[in-house]
């Protein structure tokens, strides 16, 4: 998932400059519904007494807003949107793109900033009203119940969880002391995988009663009372053959 480092600068050499336009959310939603032809509208640029006036008018088909929830009311999204032009004064803006293959290329520089505003009309007002209503709805609702919940906390002779647990224990049966050698083998193989073990985990692994296990452990291992691995058992130094990764490499290369 690494991005290729090299930036393709070809775009910026040729490009004359792009516009950065801020577009309201509903409009961009409409644009996403555009058909195959991709045409969403047209941009009219007028030069009136020196100033350029830019206006965007949305396509006819895209004006119908499919609003959710309420049937019958299909709102009309306003069609005309004059652009407010700004200069790119305080910042130097450039545009770059990222591919699927994570290739980066610099597309161009922003020469003009604009804001797309809707021309105020009744339909716009209605649209806004709807939006506000939706946004004021709380995300979480409190619901009143008619009847109190009585299915939990019934007094029970024995909880289901406990019953299951006891059954499981019965199946397993008491832990039987296996041969010392067998247990030792199990312990050694366990300590091969990890260095430090809790007594509980060891009991789990070996399925031996705690006292017996402790006896064996006292013979081959040592109990850490302090330090990073507190209250854990580890093998005695003479039984250990741990090699850290570095030493292994050293062994290989040496």
């Amino acid at each position: 998932m690494s991005d290729k480092a090299e930036v393709n600068l070809s775009g910026i050499k040729q490009s004359q400059g792009v516009w950065l336009v801020k577009v309201p959310k509903y409009l961009s939603q409409q644009w996403n519904k555009a058909t195959e032809k991709e045409k969403v509208g047209k941009l009219t640029i007028e030069k009136k007494q020196g100033k350029a006036e830019v206006c965007f008018s949305l396509d006819e088909q895209l004006t119908t807003l499919s609003s959710l929830g309420e049937k019958g009311t299909s709102l009309q999204v306003p069609r005309d949107h004059p652009f407010t032009m700004h200069t790119v004064g305080g910042q130097t803006l450039a545009v770059f793109t990222q591919n699927d293959t994570d290739e980066i290329s610099l597309e161009g520089m922003v020469v003009q900033r604009a804001e797309c505003r809707p021309a105020v009309s009744d339909s716009y007002m209605k649209l806004k009203k709807l939006q506000i209503e939706e946004s004021t709805k709380p995300q979480r609702l409190s619901q009143q119940l008619e009847k109190a919940v009585t299915t939990i906390f019934k007094p029970v002779a024995n909880h289901t969880v406990n019953v299951k647990y006891e059954k499981k224990k019965k199946l397993e049966g008491k832990m039987v002391r296996a041969e010392r050698q067998v247990v030792l083998d199990k312990l050694f193989s366990a300590f091969e995988r990890h260095q430090y073990y809790n007594i509980k985990d060891l009991v789990d692994i070996t399925k031996q009663p705690v006292s017996y296990l402790k006896e064996i452990l006292r013979e081959i291992g040592v109990y850490n009372t302090r330090g990073a691995h507190k209250s854990t058992w580890e093998l005695k130094p003479e039984y250990r053959h741990y090699q850290s990764a570095e030493e292994e490499e050293a062994m290989k290369t040496a």
């Binding site: 801020k22 045409k39 007028e46 450039a94 770059f96 430090y196 691995h229 490499e249």
Partner: protein, 535 residues
């Protein structure tokens, strides 16, 4: 495109398209106008994500399996975090800053941080004009604010606090960074064994601590060097011209190993004496002094040492040379390691309790210290300039342990060989370096040893060398007893079960038989029965 020839104002119409199938994701790269960035001047640019935050999210990894790991550690950590409600934020690559490098190594560098909240309420679109006149609009997925990164050295937070604490004392603020740079540079040069560039103000400061560590681990010298630099740092505040003088003085301080006391006296007297004095840069004096010094980076630091130390440092410089040849940058850090190594050796020897038995432990000690060298890394504190060095060091970690162990194994073998030879020449000259080392390091290890004599030590030192397989023979026992009186306990210690391969019971029996045969003389020292033989 339909262009209407309309009324007074000329209006042109363009169609706007929003392409659907584009695989490209558009983002904004914003620079501050004050940085005067002109993208058209860029010849080459590289940009990648800054993944340095991944460490924080990755948590420190315990060794997986085998040494050092604990069973069920991960689950336990997870449960613990849940219990305390610690929510670690996911590391999202998409949100990481960009690092932009323009025009190669010498060019500018920028860091682009993602600006949040851009796509929440309004969408940005990029309108580009196509050749056919129509506009195409692309949605913007992210906005990154790019700020230029400083190439010059800056202070970290800790360093800044340090300097802040000294602001009342320091008058010349301009030289603060200069001094740091010089210090770094000096360290860098030492490591790379380069000859110093004469001319500019690249004088050395404060003795080059790496060099000090390398040579001797005597606390005094270390303290002195740090004191020197501290005092010189304090003196910094007294004017630039004085700074020049100081640098020279510091340059001299570096060679304090040769003329230590003299220079220190000079330093002290410097205080305030030369204030306001306009002094020319004394290039010839200092640089010439420093160049020959530079020429012998590791060898021959003739600090105060006796014969023992001389032999010891020989061995050290041997080891050092090997290390330096193979790893230039790792020099200093290895040197830093040398002190722990020697400390370890010392400790090992102290614990053995007798100079004779320290033989075995010597080799063990060296083996152990080889391991410790591999594990322990004493990262010396460095400024930012060394950051990359540090990271490359860790990157080359696989390389160095092998070097270290190879070097130490070489010396181990060499030591073992020497010991063998030493054994064959019982009256050989006491120049066995391990033996000599032992001598120096264990002047007082004779605590339980009954011999109140100190003179037998050199003798015993040199003729003790025992190889790793010691045979419990009459010859061996005879040798020991001739040298000095020993109790049975001591004798047993000499013939450890591990070495001789006999069990403790057997050792006792055999030893008893040998003693019967030898029939040594007895004497009572400290209420203990000692055996000895006279030749």
């Amino acid at each position: 495109m339909a262009s209407l020839g309309s009324s007074s104002s000329s209006a042109t119409e363009y169609t706007v398209r929003v392409p659907k199938n584009t695989t490209k994701k558009y983002s904004i790269m914003a620079f501050n106008a004050g940085d005067k960035v002109n993208c058209s001047t860029w010849t080459q640019a590289r940009m990648e994500r800054d993944m340095s935050a991944r460490r924080m999210y990755g948590e420190e990894e315990m060794p997986e399996g085998a040494a050092g790991s604990e069973f069920g550690k991960k689950q336990r950590e997870e449960a613990r975090r849940k219990k305390f409600g610690i929510v670690t934020r996911e590391f999202k690559v998409e949100d990481q800053p960009w690092i932009l490098k323009v025009n190669g190594k010498a060019g500018k560098r920028f860091k682009g941080q993602k600006k949040g909240g851009v796509t929440e309420n309004a969408s940005y679109y990029i309108f580009t004009q196509c050749p056919d006149g129509a506009f195409e609009a692309f949605p913007v997925h992210g906005w990154y604010n790019f700020t230029p990164l400083a190439k010059h050295r800056t202070l970290t937070a800790e360093e800044a606090e340090e300097e802040w604490g000294r602001r009342n004392k320091v008058v010349n603020h301009f030289s603060i960074m200069l001094q740091r740079r010089l210090r770094e540079q000096e360290r860098g040069e030492e490591e790379e064994d380069e000859t110093e560039k004469a001319g500019k103000k690249k004088k050395k400061k404060g003795g080059g601590r790496g060099g000090d560590l390398r040579i001797h681990d005597l606390e005094d010298d270390l303290d002195m060097s740090s004191d020197d630099s501290d005092s010189s740092m304090g003196e910094d505040g007294e004017g630039k011209s004085k700074a020049k003088k100081e640098k020279e003085a510091k340059g001299k301080a570096k060679k304090k190993k040769r003329k230590s006391s003299e220079n220190e006296a000079m330093e002290d007297s410097d205080d305030g004496d030369y204030e306001g004095l306009e002094v020319d840069y004394m290039s010839d004096e200092s640089s010439s002094e420093e160049e020959p010094e530079k020429a012998k980076p590791s060898k021959g630091e003739e600090h105060p040492k006796g014969i023992d130390e001389a032999s010891e440092s020989e061995e050290e410089s041997e080891e050092e040379k090997q290390n330096e040849e193979e790893a230039k940058e790792e020099d200093e850090e290895e040197d830093g390691k040398k002190t722990p190594v020697q400390m370890e050796k010392k400790k090992k020897k102290d614990s053995s309790g007798e100079s004779d038995s320290s033989d075995d432990s010597d080799i063990e000690g060296e083996a152990a210290s080889a391991l410790f060298m591999v594990k322990k890394r004493t990262p010396p504190k460095r400024g930012g300039g060394r950051g990359s060095g540090g990271s490359s060091r860790t990157g080359s970690r696989p390389g160095t342990p092998s070097i270290d162990s190879a070097a130490t194994s070489n010396t181990l073998r060499a030591a073992a060989n020497k010991l063998e030879q030493g054994k064959r020449q019982p009256q050989g000259p006491g120049t066995d370096t391990p033996a000599a080392k032992r001598l120096k390091m264990e002047p007082s290890s004779q605590s339980p040893a009954p011999s109140g004599k100190s003179t037998p030590q050199p003798q015993s030192g040199k003729s003790t060398p025992s190889s790793s397989d010691v045979q419990l023979t009459e010859e061996a026992v005879r040798r020991y007893l001739i040298r000095k009186p020993m109790t049975t306990k001591d004798l047993l210690k000499k013939f450890q079960t591990k070495r001789t391969g006999l069990s403790s019971e057997q050792t006792v029996n055999v030893l008893a038989q040998i003693l019967k045969r030898l029939n040594p003389e007895r004497k009572n020292v400290n209420d203990k029965m000692h055996f000895y033989l006279t030749e």
